[in-house]
Amino acid sequence: MSTLAAILDQIIPPSPDGRMPGAGALGLADAIEEAIAGTGGRDWLADNLAAIEAAAQDAHGTSFGELAAQDAEALLRTVDEARPGLVQGMLFPLYIAYYQHPDVARALGHEGRPPHPQGYPLEKGDLSLLDPVRARAPLYRQV
């Protein structure tokens, strides 16, 4: 797993019950890299990835991707404190990429497909709830 994928897996880790996949394992790293590069953040990302790898080597003598989940999250929080905006700068593209993924949608109990062409059934609702409104005098001003 690349450094970026390992970071994404800490930002959105797999859920303890295994129902929700981790963002890194979902294969979103390329999309996130492209999104950040598209807003002029290629160098910013490369610099931060290098900093995280250096911190992992310093603290644990291994690469970030090899760390146990608990150590990886703690280290990412430490580096994020030292480099404000590191994680925040990834959240917007990551949340979009993660939560539009069909596997994630299905894990949420959604359909995991585009809305069109099947659409969705929706209850018409109980229009007898309007009875007290119907009983009111006109609300509009007479002119």
């Binding site: 949340y95 939560y99 539009q100 497909r113 062409p117 659409g119 969705y120 209850e123 229009l127 509009y140």
Partner: protein, 533 residues
């Protein structure tokens, strides 16, 4: 290509379409120039899994962020409310929610009733037949019997309430407040070759089903079949005048950037409350050195938005808010009419807006600090997804001359045409109304069972409704147009978009804009023989 026409319409949006269709029965030579193109519904966002992401890209509301080739930039830095629009056949109806409430009778008598702003030069009753005609053409869903309005028919059954609607309805009832299923330009049944709504959700990113009444699927097919010539990718730079001060056509750029002078006997402008003053102010001549039809000096002045509040509630139990027409569920007008006991004049409407999709839920959770990253992420997210419902609250804006559309001294569009600059301040009345509305919105959500509420007011991207910048009136020194939308200064020049509104009301303006366009067309048809006398 540029042979003279009888009627030239600039803009193929809500009003241009209605006007063109109505005029087509005259068999006159009618041409509409539109800077955008026909849309392809098979490319609308809901056809892909990335449907929520595209509202930050090619289906965004702001022309500045969207930057399609058809868009023109708008300098809205000096306004807390930013411009939202769309440029295509259908105009902003491509992205509108389809919410279709009429103005109230009192909205036409603001000066008489409340002592502020101006009366309209006609009444609700004068416009009612055109509202009804437009409701049929646009395929309006709703329910007759709303006590907030004079009696009216509604062609199609209402959009579904769903669990969100039912929950909010119980909240309204608990408080004893008015609510009603929204009048919506959404075909809830097959209507005039349109497929019925299948509850896709985000109507504001185009309707891939074709159920929403955008004018590319309502008026335009009928108008084109009846002989109206609709020419796309044509951006008008200015309206030209002859030696007698009459409009005689328009200079425009075609798809290849070539300049043309299209001559016409009658010119009709339908470019919205920002595009229309921009075009008029760009149309300078010896007879009109300050811009066409601007002897009053009021072209571009009195810009009105509808200041919006958005109130979102978080609920403990799952709701179905990601499904169904997002902007049209129900309307509440308990606080619509002026109440002397309140500290502001005029009023507002609650518009229940259902909930969010999975991406929207995550971004909402992020922005509100509700969803952390890391090991607590999934538990926190699970408390938000499918558990939001809320509303936008649409407040009446009153006209003020210092709120303006002018020409930006530096900014130009892709053809080098000076772009509009918007200067706008929220009035004291609007701020008080927003505060009242936000508090009542929270009260409603709490009565409906919300455990937390979140308010955003004024809602920055809510510059959807652009009104007042070429206002109608009876006094040529106090208005740009007469009571049928004809320029006081140029008798063969008409304006038919939201620019013409003397006041804004507290509801979405599209059905009123279209009813006015039909009324103007009716006037022209009935007075063709003497129109230019």
């Amino acid at each position: 290509m540029t042979e003279p026409v009888d009627v030239l319409i600039v803009g193929a949006g809500a009003s241009g379409a209605a006007f063109a269709w109505s005029m087509a029965e005259t068999r006159m030579n009618i041409l509409c120039l539109e800077q955008g193109d026909w849309m392809d519904p098979s490319d609308y966002p809901t056809t892909g899994n990335d449907w929520e992401a595209r509202r930050f890209g090619d289906f965004g509301l702001s022309p500045n962020g969207r930057s399609r080739p058809e868009d023109y930039p708008v300098n809205d830095d000096d306004s807390p409310i930013k411009i939202s629009n769309f440029n295509a056949v259908g105009g902003s109806t491509i992205l509108y929610a389809g919410h279709f409430p009429r103005l109230h009778p009192s909205d036409f008598r603001v000066k008489t009733l409340d002592g502020v702003a101006d009366d309209w030069p006609f009444t609700y009753e004068d416009l009612a037949p055109y509202y009804a005609q437009n409701d049929q053409m646009m395929g309006v869903a709703g329910l007759a019997g709303d006590p907030a309005y004079p009696p009216k028919e509604v062609p199609l059954p209402p959009v579904p309430l769903g669990t969100v609607g039912e929950r909010l309805a119980r909240g309204f009832n608990k408080l004893g407040w008015h609510w009603w299923p929204s009048d919506s330009a959404i075909a809830t049944e097959e209507h005039s070759d349109r497929a019925p709504c299948i509850n896709l959700g985000p109507c504001i990113m185009g309707c891939a089903q074709g159920a929403k009444g955008s004018t590319d699927v309502t008026y335009w097919p009928k108008a084109v079949r009846a002989g109206v010539n609709l020419r796309t990718h044509c951006r008008v730079r200015e309206i030209t005048v002859d030696e007698n001060g009459l409009a005689n056509g328009a200079i425009y750029y075609d798809a290849e950037g070539r300049e043309h002078h299209q001559r016409a006997e009658i010119v009709v402008i339908a470019c919205n409350g920002v595009g229309t003053p921009r075009l008029l102010l760009n149309s300078k001549s010896k007879a009109f050195p300050d811009g066409l039809a601007n002897r009053s000096g009021l072209v571009g002045r009195n810009l009105m938005f509808h200041p919006y509040a958005m109130v979102t509630g978080l609920f403990e139990e799952p709701l179905d808010g990601r499904m169904g027409p997002a902007g049209c569920c129900m309307i509440g007008q308990e606080f619509y009419e002026t109440d002397p006991a309140r500290d502001f004049l005029r009023g507002y409407s609650f518009e229940i807006t259902r909930g969010m999709g999975p991406v929207g839920s995550a971004l909402f959770g992020m922005s509100q600090g509700l969803v952390p990253w890391g090991s607590g992420h999934h538990d926190a997210y699970a408390k938000i997804v499918d558990r939001t419902a809320g509303m936008v609250i649409i407040c009446e804006d009153l006209p003020e001359e210092h709120n303006t559309v002018t020409l930006d001294p530096d900014l130009v569009d892709g053809h080098g045409i000076p772009a509009p600059k918007v200067t706008y301040r929220l009035s004291d009345n609007s701020q008080k109304m927003l505060a009242h509305a936000s508090a009542r919105g929270r009260e409603l959500l709490e009565a409906s069972g919300a455990v937390r509420c979140f308010t955003d007011a004024p809602l920055p991207p809510a510059g959807w409704h652009l009104m007042g910048t070429a206002r109608m009136g009876t006094d040529p020194s106090r208005s740009v147009l007469d009571g049928v939308g004809r320029s006081h200064d140029v008798k063969n020049l008409f304006v038919i978009d939201g620019s013409v509104f003397p006041t804004s009301g507290g509801v979405n303006p599209t059905c009123t804009i279209q009813a006015l366009a039909l009324r103007t067309a009716d006037y022209i048809k009935k007075n063709l023989d003497t129109l230019l006398d």
